[in-house]
Symmetry: D2
C-alpha cells in the first residue's frame, strides 16, 4: 500500500532521479514536477527519464511570464540587490516555482512535497517556507536532511551505484567541478572548485555572457522607457543619436531583449562570497545580464523623477529589507507582503526614458528624460539662474541648520576639545 | 579703516578673483587661501594673481596626506556612496579644506571667511556648516547670496567688465560650457550644457579617465591588501597568476596608484541626476577611478571576512547615514562624529587580500583570501561535506521559523484569501 | 485699492486681533478663519470681535469629525509618539486646520493666507508647508517673521497700545504666564515661566486632567474593541468582571469618551523638553488623556494579534518616521503620503478587545482577546505542552544560529581576547 | 566511569533537582551552580539540597554588582525596551549568569553545561548562545529538549514520583499556578493560568510592588543625577521644594534605592503578550520598578541635553536593535558588541539632574537641569525673544524646504489629484 503521494521537484539530473527512485522504494507514489523558468533544458528528455524511473506522472509548468511580470520586473522596480552586488537571480525564481509546485501537488492530491536541495543551502528554506505558507498542512520530505538518506548516499559513487541498480542512465560526460542553477535572469555557479574563494573561475565556466574579448566592437545604443518604475519599452538604436531600428514591448520580450543584448556585450558577471541565511558563508559566481542593465537604468531614472525623501526612505528601509527577505526565502511571509506593498506607491513618479550604451562589458547611462515629471527643472537648478529663487533663503536655511551646529562647536570648546577630522 | 580681515577661499579663477577685488572695494583686508587636494593647478600663477589683485597674503596648504588618510580611505572603509552611484568625491574634500581654511583664518586673525560658491549648491553648506562648527563666532561672507553682489554681477559680462576695470587678467580661451571641481579622488562636471539631463556629454569633456577605446589591450592584475578595512598595500602583477612587479604601500601612494591604473584602464565614469541638499535636483558627471576600485575590493573582502549581522547593521544604518551626512555637508556635526565612531569597530575583521583585474573600463574581482580570518570555511560551507554539521539541525531551524509562517497561511485561509505572488 | 485678500487664521486672542487690524492697515481685505478642533472657545465672541475689527467675513469650520477619523485614530493605529512621550496633540491638528483654511481661502478668492505663529516655533512650518503643498501659488504673510512687523511690536505693551488705538478690546484678566494650544486631543502649555525647564508647573496650570488627589476612588473598567487597528467600540463596565453599562461607538464618541474618562481619572499629563524642527529645544507640558489610553490599548492588542516581524518593521521604520514627519509639519509631503500608505496594511490583523482599568492617574491593561486572530495560541505557547512541537527543533534552531556565534568566540580566542560583558 | 563533569544551573526548585538527580543517574558528575542576581532566595537551603541529591560541589556566585554596573545601568543609558513596554528584566540577567556559569564550568573542568529551561522559551537560547560564544567547544545538555528526558517526565506527577524515588524533598505547598523569575531588576510571571491572555492576574500574584491602594498617601520627591547617561546619585527630598534628607551614590545602592521607592509607591507593573524569539507569542506579567523610574528620568534628561540628530539616530537604530538583541539572547555576538559600542558615544552630553515625584503608581518628572550642557537655552528658545535670531532665517528655511513640497502640490495638480488628508 502506498505511503501517499509526493510531488517531487524534479530536474532530470542525477540527484533528483535518485530521489525519485528512492521515494518509490520507500513506498510513495511520485508526481515529477518541473518548472520552466527560462533555463536551457531538454524537458522532453527529463519527462521520459522521470516516467522511465517510475513517476506516476510528469508535469511541466511554464512560469516564464509570471516570473517576469510578478517577480523580476518588480525586483527591478525596487532595485533589489543583496550584499551590494548579487541581484538575487536564484532567490527570485523560488517563489514562482514554489507556487507552481504546490498547485501541482494540490491538483494531484499529494500529501507530500519533496526536493533535492542540500541541507546547507538557502534553497531548501526558500522552498519549504513557501510550502508551509501556501499550505500549512503540507508534509515535506527533504531527503538530504534525512539521516537514513544521507547515510545511504555518502558520495557520488553511492549515487552512481544506486543509479546502475535502478537502471537510471547517468551522463557519460563527467560532472563539471561546480554546480549551476539557471533561469532567465541568471545562472549561478557554486560548490566544487569554487569553494576555494581565491580560485579564479576558469574562462570556460562562464556560459551565458560573452567574455569582453569576444564582445562586438560596435557599441549598442538603447533607450529603456519606464512607467511607474516598470520597464515598458526598449528602443534599439543604430547609433548614439541614431534612429530606432527596433521597438520591443511586453514584459517577457523586454526582459529577454535586455538579456540577449547584455549577454552579447559581456555585461553582468560577478564573483562574490556571500552570507547564506543559515549562517555559513558561500562563494558564488553569477551571470546576471538583464537585471544588471534594467536595474541600472531604473536607478538612473529615479534620480530624475523621484522625490528625494521618498527615495531615501525607500533606499534605507524598503530595498534592503525586501532584498534580504527574498534572499532568506521569506517571500511568502506577512512581512514580505507588507514590504512588497510599499514598492508600487514609491514608484508613481518614475516615468521616463533612459538612454544607455552597451559596450565591452559595461552598460553606461548617457542621458535620460521624462515627459510627465517636473521634479527636475533645468532652469531652476541652473547655477546661472536666479529665477524663482532668492539666495537669501539659503542663508536662512543654513542659519537655522547651524543653530545646532554652533552649539556643537561651542560645547567642544567648553570641554577643551577641538572640532577635527 | 579696514572693516576687518577676510580669509577667502581662492581658486585663481575669474569668480573668486572678482570676489577678492570686490571685498577689497568694500574695505576688507583679504588673505587668499588655497588648498592642494590633488587637483591639477598652477598654484604659483594663482599666488601671483591674488597678490596682484591686492590680497595681503596668499596661503597654500597641502592637505593631500590628510585628505587621503583621514577622509578618503575611511570612506572606502565604510563603502560610502550617495544615491547608489556617486562616490562623493567633491563632498569628501570639503572637510579638509574647511578645516585648513579655518586654521589659516585663525592664524591670520581673520574675523571673516568667504568663498565663491553659488547660492544653489551643496558646497556653500558644506563649507559654512563646517566654519560654524569649528568656530561658532566666525562671520561668513557669501557674496553670491548677497543681494548687492548678485545685483552687481548678473552675468558673465558684468564679471568681465569688472575684471577689466580692476586689471584682473581673464583667460583668453573661452570658458568651457560646464564647470568642474577636481581633487585626487575625482573630477566633477556640472552646469552649462549638462543642465539638460538628456544631453550626452561630449567625448572631449572627460579629462582624467581614458575612453574604453583608448585603454590598453592587456589586462592589469593587481592585489589589494586591507587591514581593518583600510588598504595597506597594492601588488602590481604581470599576469593573472603572474609575479609581483611592484609593491605599493603608504596611504597616498596606494590612492594615487589606484587612481593612475584606474584612469589608464578607463574605470570610474558616471553620469547622474542627483538630489542636492537644498531640494533641487542636479545633473552631474564624475570621474572617480580610485574610489571605484578600492571600494569594490573592500566590499568584496567584507563578504569573506565580516560577520553577516554586523554587515547588515552597518549596511542599513551606518553607510547610508554617513554618506548622506557627508553629502549634506554635515561632517562637523555631533551626529556625524557619532556615526564616524562606528566605522572602525565594524572593521576589525576586514583583513585580507583581494585580487582584481582592470580591463576595458571595468575592474573585476577574481579571488580573495585572508590569512587571519576564519568566518569563511571552505569545508564547512561545502555542499559535499557534513563534517561538524547535522542536517537535522536545519530541519529544526526551518520548523521554528515556520511556526509563524504556517500561521500566516492559516490566517489567509481563514479569511478566504490565498497566499499568492 | 486693496492689495488683495487675506485668509487669516484667527483665534480671537490679542495677537491675531492685532494682526487682523495691521493687515487692514496695510491695505488688505481680510477673511477671518477659525477651525473648531474641539477646543474650549467662545466662537460667537470671536466672530463678533473679528467683524468689529474690520474683517470682511468670519468663517468657522467644524473639523472635529474629520480630525478624529482622518488624523487622530490613524495616529493611534500607528502608535505615533515623538521623542518617547509626546503624543503629538498640536502637530496632529495642523493638517486639518491647514486644509480647512486653504479651502476657505480658495472659496473666498484669497491670494494670501496669514497666521499668528511666531518665527521660532514648529507651527509656522506645519501651516506653511501645508499651504504650499495644497496650492504652490499661494502667498503667505507671516507677520511675526516680517522685520517691519517685529520692529513695530516689540513687546506686549506695543500690542496693547495698538489695540487701544484700534479699539480692540483686551481681556482685563492679565495673560497667564504661559501660552496654550487646545484641541480635543490635548492641551499644550509652553513659553513664559515654563521656559525655565526646572520650574515645576503650578498645580493650577493644568486645566483638563484631574490631579490624582481629585480623581475618583473607584476604578473604572472599560473594554476597547479595535478593528484593523482602529477603535470601534468602548464598553463601560460597572466592575472588573462587571456588566456593560454603556456602549460607545462612532469615531468622535469613542474619542470623546476616552477623553472624558481619562481626564476624570487623571491620565495623560506630561512635561518634557523637546527638539523643535528648527533646531531649538523647547519645554512643553501636555495633557493628552484620550491618546494615552487609546494608544496603550492599541499597543497591547498588537502584542496579541500582530505578526512579530511586521511589527518590528513597522516599529522601527514606520512609527518613528511618521511621528517625526508629523512633528516637523510634513504631513502634506510625498514621503508622508508614502509612509501613511503603510499604516493600514500593517493593521489587517489587529482585531480584538483590550480590557483596561482607569484609576489614580494610570490606565492599566488587565486582559485582551481576539475572536478572529490565531497568532496567539495558548496551548502552543504553553510551557507544559508539547502538542505540535518538537523540542529537538529548537536544538536545531540554536545550532544553526550558533554557527556564526561559535566563530565569534573562536575569533576572539585566536586574538587572545575574551568574550566578556 | 563518569561520562564527564556537568556544570548545572541549579535553582533549588523541583525541576533542576530532578535534572541533577537524572544527570547523576546518567553517569555524569555534577557541579551545582547558582548566581545571586538579587532574587529572594534561601541559598543555604539550596546548597544543602544540591549536595544531598549528590552534587560534587555547590558554587554560588554573587554577580549583583556586575549585573548593575555592566548590564542594568547601561540598559538605562540606552533606554532599552522590548515591544514598547517590557524593560527586559529577565533577558538582562542572562549574560551575567551565563558568564558566571561558564567561569565555574571552566574552573571545575566541566566538559558540559546544563540548565532546566524549557524547549519553547527564550532563556534556553539566551544561555546557550552565550555558552557557545564564551567557549565554542563546550557541550550543552538541555534535558527538556532531549526526547528520552521528555518521554520520562511527561507531567508534574512523573517529577514528583522521581523525586520520591530519589529522596528529593518536595515543597508541601502546592506550586503556584504560574512560574516566576526574579532578580533585582524585576520579577516575571508567566505560564499556568496566565497563558489565557484575557485572565486578569489575581491581586495576590503581584509580589514586589505595592498595589496602588496600599501605597503611601504622601508623594516622594527625588532628584536623580546622571553623568554621561549613567545615574550617579539619588537625592531623597522631604517635599517638592524640600531639603535633601538622604543622598545615595554607588551603582548598586542607586539601583536598590530606585527599586525600594518604586515598589513602595506602586510603580512598574505591566501585563503583555510578547513575541518570543522562537516565533511563539507569550503572555507575561512583570514588576519592574527600578528600571521604570531610572529609564523615565534618563529619557527626560536626554530631552534637555542630547543633540536632536544624535538622539534620532540612536532612537531609531541603536535602542531597538540593542533591545531586540538582548531579548533574543544575542548579547555575546559580534553585532551586539558592535551596537553596545555605540551607547557610550551617544551619551557624552547626558549630564544633569532630573526631579521626580513618585506617587500612587506613577513617577512624574517635574523639572530638570544641567550645569554643564548648553543645548537648551531658555532665552534663545523663548517665544518672546529675538536675541541672536533673525525671523527672516526661518522664512528662508521654509522656502528651501518647500521647493520640493511645491513640486509635490504641482505634480498632484497636473495629475488631476488633490492634496488631501
Amino acid at each position: 500500500m502506498s505511503k501517499g503521494k509526493v510531488c517531487l521537484a524534479y530536474s532530470g539530473g542525477l540527484d533528483t532521479s535518485i530521489i525519485l527512485a528512492w521515494l518509490l522504494d520507500q513506498g510513495y507514489e511520485v508526481v515529477a514536477f518541473m518548472a520552466n523558468v527560462g533555463q536551457e533544458e531538454d524537458f522532453a528528455a527529463a519527462e521520459k527519464k522521470a516516467l522511465a524511473i517510475g513517476a506516476t506522472k510528469y508535469v511541466l509548468v511554464d512560469v516564464q511570464e509570471e516570473f517576469v511580470s510578478k517577480i523580476l520586473l518588480p525586483a527591478v522596480q525596487v532595485n533589489a540587490v543583496y550584499e551590494d552586488v548579487y541581484l538575487l537571480g536564484t532567490a527570485l525564481a523560488r517563489p514562482v516555482i514554489t507556487k507552481a509546485q504546490m498547485s501541482v501537488a494540490l491538483e494531484n492530491n499529494c500529501q507530500f512535497v519533496s526536493h533535492g536541495c542540500t541541507g546547507k543551502g538557502n534553497d531548501q528554506i526558500r522552498f519549504e517556507q513557501g510550502f508551509y505558507a501556501i499550505d500549512p498542512e503540507i508534509q515535506i520530505i527533504a531527503p538530504w536532511r534525512l539521516p537514513e538518506f544521507c547515510e545511504k548516499f555518502k558520495g557520488r559513487k553511492d549515487l552512481i551505484d544506486y543509479a546502475a541498480l535502478k537502471g537510471i542512465p547517468v551522463a557519460q560526460t563527467g560532472a563539471k567541478p561546480w554546480s549551476t542553477d539557471e533561469n532567465m535572469a541568471h545562472i549561478s555557479y557554486e560548490a566544487g572548485i569554487l569553494e576555494e574563494p581565491n580560485t579564479t573561475p576558469p574562462k570556460d565556466m562562464w556560459k551565458l555572457i560573452n567574455d569582453i574579448d569576444n564582445t562586438p566592437n560596435t557599441p549598442q545604443f538603447i533607450n529603456i522607457t519606464f512607467e511607474k518604475g516598470l520597464p515598458t519599452k526598449i528602443d534599439i538604436l543604430d547609433g548614439q543619436e541614431g534612429k530606432v531600428v527596433e521597438t520591443v514591448t511586453g514584459d517577457l520580450n523586454i526582459f529577454l531583449t535586455a538579456s540577449k543584448l547584455g549577454r552579447l556585450h559581456g555585461i553582468g558577471r560577478i564573483d562574490i562570497v556571500e552570507n547564506r541565511y543559515i549562517n555559513l558563508k558561500s562563494r558564488g559566481c553569477y551571470e546576471q545580464a538583464p537585471l544588471t542593465i534594467l536595474r541600472q537604468a531604473h536607478v538612473d531614472l529615479e534620480g530624475l523623477t523621484m522625490d528625494k525623501e521618498v527615495r531615501q526612505i525607500r533606499d534605507q528601509f524598503v530595498t534592503p529589507t525586501y532584498s534580504r527577505l527574498l534572499y532568506n526565502g521569506a517571500y511568502f511571509t506577512p512581512e514580505c507582503e507588507f514590504i512588497r506593498g510599499m514598492i508600487k506607491p514609491s514608484q508613481v513618479s518614475v516615468n521616463g526614458t533612459v538612454r544607455l550604451v552597451l559596450y565591452k562589458g559595461k552598460s553606461t547611462v548617457i542621458g535620460r528624460y521624462s515627459d510627465s515629471e517636473i521634479l527636475y527643472n533645468a532652469i531652476e537648478s541652473s547655477m546661472d539662474e536666479l529665477t524663482g529663487f532668492s539666495p537669501v533663503d539659503t542663508t536662512g536655511f543654513i542659519n537655522i541648520q547651524s543653530i545646532r551646529i554652533k552649539k556643537y562647536g561651542l560645547t567642544k570648546k567648553n570641554r577643551g576639545e577641538t572640532v577635527d577630522l
